[in-house]
Amino acid sequence: MGQGKSQFTEEELQDYQDLTYFTKKEVLYAHQKFKALAPEKVGHNKNAKLPMAKILQYPELRVNPFGDRICCIFSSSHDGDCTFEDFLDMMSVFSDGAPKAVKAEHAFRIFDFDGDDMLGVTDLRQVIDRLTGQQHLSEQDMQHLIQNILDEADLDDDGALSFAEFEHIISKSSDFAK
């Protein structure tokens, strides 16, 4: 369908290609996916702002336990509603082309629930809770687990993970790719 291409000018596509880890074709593909979430609204304004509920209908985000956090981080208005540009940003960071450092940076923000630039005990607790889904660890297990994580990762012994410590772990981990 040529309609997709005619919505963007060549200059805009070049911009998007330079500013994300996508090629022009992938940008158009991402726009198609975005449009599929709310066809009429996006048809009128290609950079329409969709509410968080609509964004979370995207399959990978719907089942992701951190879906709402992801939307909040990437939304330019910080309230969870995303424009197409925010969506493109999101997909670009999660794509294969983005280097580990970029993903680590965004992952840190996603895990930092209280926004204090450190992953403290409360942040870790919420992360673990969301990861286990329906099942819940007992209080003792949870504390034990958090203590283990801090033992492993907290290098300067201040009870929370700073961004440098988090990045240090991620750089050692070879599974943190997707």
């Binding site: 330079d18 034990h144 990762a153 988090f166 599974d175 997707k178």
Partner: protein
């Protein structure tokens, strides 16, 4: 005269601007801000590059563009991309690593076969062998007898490799031992025997190189990970979620898997503590139990091997004595079963014995990770040992040296083709077993579990995609390929087709028959595991072939090495024909005067690298301690600062109070 000021000092040139624009995408700001930044950079004054610099920069830009376009087309061409994405979405990246492994093996087999095709099969088909001299030698006579034998062929020949199929390019026996050229008059010739053995060595070494490279990569990652500390819990929590999962069921399974893994890790830690605190009595009892279990395992293995040996002898005896000329239908059927009997026994053992091992290992009370490893090790041992046993039993049939006749009594005239046929039968049977088990055994089980509500049905029917077992299946078929390729050159092609079909069969088993596994398989660990198992199997497969090449005299009636003392002597003879200076260089490499200094130098290098790595580890410890101290320092300074500020506040409050009282006093007076 003062130098004119350089106005261009702070301005950046085009290239640097372009680089900065490329770096914007790594910044964690919103798209609108990124666009603003790009616009600002583009409209800022910048210098144009001149001449050579301009060319270099243009070339860099073009190279970047080409790279990204190449990546795009390459990802489109990726084989089976859609299937892999589907599996990834449902099962996660650990299982996908397995399917990528199958794809990798398929390409390896393809390359091996292309080598063989280009250098051995095509010359044999296209070029013509040298004319034989008038006086006949024993070798010529035997060859003529062999090739003129009439054989009765039946449709079963396809499966067994006998009859008409025996004298085709499929098996070793077809290839000529003479030099071949375009028209038989030896102006320029192609040395087929030398090519045959050279290609075999090349593809075996090539497979080894590729596997070692892959294994070393995984090993390096593991080493980097475990540099003093293994971030087990952090990896589990921060890297645990697979962002490619896109349906509800898999997501809930993933949640459950993560929960189980967390509990398992905590449990393992508790067990470790318990193990440290085990009393001496308990330790002793456990040790005895473990010894007994290991003895039982060894007994089971030797029993299995003995069974294979005797089955082989039994079937050989019967085939040679009684069934040379089958007459009735029943005798045909009996002959067919006897031909396949050793292979059937091996397949049955491969199915039953691992289950027995899994049952026994529960008595040994190892940690869960160790249980997986040791069960895998024992199963690998079983599979490889059964192959070795088969080769061993073949040895008695093959080795026989009577200088005056074509071959010994009751022994096959062309033993290499015979070995090739045995491996071919194993390959066919292995593949048929996979198809049968997946479609006629596991699929009905899944249907039963899906459509009936009773608990018993669910117990029988629900299966998980157990990765170690499927890995062993694939590795086993590849081992057979390596084992038999020297004697049946078309085997890599079959192995490639088998890998291709196995991919789809396993995909069916994964997506349709099983539910997602409840253990978390991590992709990086899985990859290194596959490679190590593959390496072990490779070594075991190459040993019999190497032994045969070096020691066993080739049969006189067929093959590229007839008439020589051993297969390797072809290489030795060709080596003798090289010019003298090359030979003297080669001899020098073999002398002690060269080997001993090289050995000493290598040992010194090894020691040097070991010392460097030990020093690095020490450095890491020192730096870590330093970090902790700095953290404490920071905390201390912050405390001091807040205490100081509090003190200042108090002081100011006191001062203000004093002022107020002074003011009151002065007002009052």
């Amino acid at each position: 005269m003062a130098m004119l000021p350089d106005l261009s000092e702070n301005l950046s040139n085009e290239e640097r601007t372009w680089e900065e624009i490329m770096q914007i995408k790594a910044m964690p700001v919103s798209m609108m801000q990124k666009k603003e930044m790009k616009a600002k950079l583009q409209t800022a004054t910048k210098l144009r590059l001149q001449g050579f610099e301009q060319l270099k920069w243009q070339r860099r830009k073009v190279w970047q563009q080409m790279k990204s376009r190449w990546k795009e087309t390459y990802s489109k061409l990726e084989l089976w991309r859609h299937s892999l994405k589907k599996i990834e979405g449902n099962f996660g990246t650990g299982v996908v690593a397995y399917f990528l492994f199958i794809k990798w093996l398929m390409f390896l087999n393809l390359f091996i076969f292309l080598f063989i095709l280009l250098f051995i099969i095509l010359p044999t088909l296209v070029l013509v062998p040298q004319e034989s001299p008038a006086n006949t030698t024993l070798v010529e006579e035997c060859s003529r007898n062999y090739f003129n034998l009439s054989v009765d062929s039946s449709f079963l020949d396809w499966v067994q490799g006998t009859g008409n199929m025996e004298r085709t390019i499929m098996f070793y026996g077809y290839y000529t031992h003479k030099l071949i050229s375009e028209d038989g008059n030896m102006h320029s010739y192609y040395n087929l025997p030398l090519a045959y053995i050279a290609i075999a060595v090349i593809y075996l070494l090539g497979s080894l190189a590729v596997m070692v490279k892959s294994a070393a990569q995984g090993f390096k990652e593991r080493l980097v990970e475990g540099e003093g500390q293994f971030y087990q819990y952090c990896n589990l929590v921060f890297g645990g979620w697979d962002f490619c999962i896109h349906n509800e069921k898999s997501a809930s399974m993933k949640h459950k898997a993560l929960y189980n893994e967390m509990k398992a890790c905590l449990e393992a830690e508790r067990l470790e503590e318990e193990r440290q605190n085990r009393s001496r009595d308990e330790m002793l009892k456990l040790m005895i139990m473990r010894c007994i279990i290991n003895l039982i395992v060894l007994m089971v293995l030797s029993g299995a091997l003995a069974l294979i040996y005797y089955t082989f002898y039994f079937s050989q005896e019967r085939l040679n004595k009684e069934l040379l000329n089958p007459n009735t239908e029943l005798e045909y059927l009996y002959k067919f079963i006897l031909e396949f009997l050793p292979s059937i026994i091996i397949v049955c053992l491969n199915l039953l014995v691992p289950n027995m091992f899994a049952y026994l290992v529960s008595f040994e009370r190892y940690s869960p990770l160790f249980i997986v490893r040791i069960t895998l090790l024992r199963t690998v041992l079983l599979r490889l040992a059964s192959l070795i046993m088969l080769m061993f039993s073949l040895k008695d049939i093959i080795i026989c040296d009577e200088p005056d006749s074509c071959s010994c009594e009751d022994h096959p005239k062309c033993w290499e083709t015979y070995v090739g046929q045995q491996v071919y039968k194993l390959v066919i049977l292995d593949f048929v077993t996979h198809v049968l088990i997946t479609f006629t055994f596991n699929w009905p089980r899944m249907l039963i579990a899906k459509y009936s509500k009773s608990k018993v049905a669910k117990f029988i029917g629900e299966q998980e995609f157990e990765l170690p077992k499927h890995v062993l299946d694939v590795v086993y078929s590849q081992t057979l390929c390596w084992l038999g390729s020297f004697y049946a050159p078309v085997l890599p092609l079959l192995a490639m087709l088998e890998c291709c079909l196995l991919f789809h069969i396993k995909k069916f088993a994964c997506l349709v028959n099983s539910r997602p596994s409840s253990t978390v398989y991590r992709a990086s660990r899985s990859n290194s595991l596959f490679m190590v198992v593959l390496l072990i199997s490779f070594i075991v497969a190459v040993l019999p072939v190497a032994f045969a090449i070096a020691e066993i005299p080739p049969s006189k009636s067929c093959g590229p090495f007839r008439g020589h003392l051993t297969t390797w002597s072809v290489v030795v003879e060709s080596f003798d024909q090289l010019p003298a200076w090359i030979k003297s260089i080669m001899f020098f490499f073999g002398t002690a005067g060269f080997a001993v200094p090289i050995f000493v130098v290598l040992v010194l290098c090894l020691y040097y690298f070991y010392a460097v790595s030990a020093a690095n580890k020490q450095m890491v410890m020192v730096l870590k301690n330093q970090l902790v101290l700095e953290g404490h320092d920071k905390q201390f300074l912050l405390n001091r600062l807040s205490a100081f500020i509090k003190q200042q506040h108090e002081h100011q409050k006191v001062m203000r109070q004093v002022e107020m009282t002074n003011l009151d006093l002065s007002n009052a007076s």
